[in-house]
Symmetry: C2
Subunit: 190 residues, 2 copies
């Protein structure tokens, strides 16, 4: 699939079929993450592939508690109605963790370096695009508490769970989400 087509057609799926992801497709998704650019080529990521049903169920339960907290703090109606079934339903979840020590020179400019997290995001976006090109669906998921997830997945304290990529064959289609026109998001100097 052409790059621009993948970029424009990629969608966020919140419902998945009970159908496993072929091993070669999973490897291609991870490979796409591997080739992301990273700050000083530090490759600060580690990809944790979760297929175990019990672990997925525990993640869902933990994130449901987190959603409850968010609802109490925000009062946002959609949060109370947001179903996390996809966390136990999707055949694969990839937790993308980053090492805040591997963040490059921005640690000397900012209070906390963020290059490691940005590199992880590049890997995540690569994964979304190749997954779409392979006929898979994804969701970029961040509504979890870092400490709780580290406990469930046995991730060392010093790492940061930057994002999760929910991966599987989508159940049904997802409508294109509208974008503002380019004129509203671009300024030109020169």
């Amino acid at each position: 699939m052409e790059v621009l087509q993948a970029i424009k057609e990629r969608r966020s799926y919140r419902s998945y079929l009970d159908r496993p992801v072929e091993e070669e497709k999973l490897q291609a998704v991870l490979e796409a993450g591997r080739w992301a650019p990273s700050v000083m080529n530090l490759q600060p990521w580690r990809f944790i592939v979760i297929k175990d049903q019990d672990i997925k169920d525990r993640l869902k339960k933990s994130c449901q508690e987190t959603l409850q907290k968010i609802y109490q703090a925000s009062g946002w109606g959609w949060v109370s109605r947001f179903s996390l079934e996809f966390l136990s339903q999707a055949p694969v979840i990839i937790a993308v963790t980053g090492d805040p020590q591997k963040t490059g020179a921005d640690q000397f400019i900012l209070e906390t370096g963020r290059g490691y997290a940005f590199s992880c995001c590049a890997a995540v976006q690569n994964m979304h695009l190749i997954a779409h090109a392979l006929g898979l669906g994804t969701l970029w998921f961040t509504l979890y508490e870092n400490d709780k997830v580290k406990g469930i997945l046995d991730i060392p304290k010093e790492l940061d769970v930057v994002s999760m990529v929910v991966l599987g064959y989508p159940a049904g289609t997802a409508a294109q989400v509208k974008r503002k026109p380019l004129e509203e998001m671009v300024s030109v100097i020169g």
Copy 2:
């Protein structure tokens, strides 16, 4: 160009030809940013396209001062030798700014929400990939001080300059940067 090819072949270029970027290619790069996924579809970005030579020269001067600071703090040899000529040489620099207010539900979990910045990173990575597919070169640049850049580009204080995309026709080739093998960056649970 196929998605996986673009992901694997993309390189970081630090030297550019004195050749303008065609307007339709620039628009395609911005369009790729526009179609990035964003938290709650807030599209928290604004893309500032810089072509003006004087502004590019001022950016370079400011970043040279920043590099000096980084060198003093880090003692890293490569920092003292790092040339920023590409900032005045490249025909286009796209400053990708994000609005920390448009960060979604993570503001209720984290001290500071970061969904807005992650969304901007997805836009940046999209830009890199489509630029490569169009025969252009890019560099993901973050070695600047936010306040100084906001002063030069007249960006409102409340926004965050998340990253810059240096864009142009590359002068010469860039070698493939090695990656660790996949086995060293993947764990499987399940």
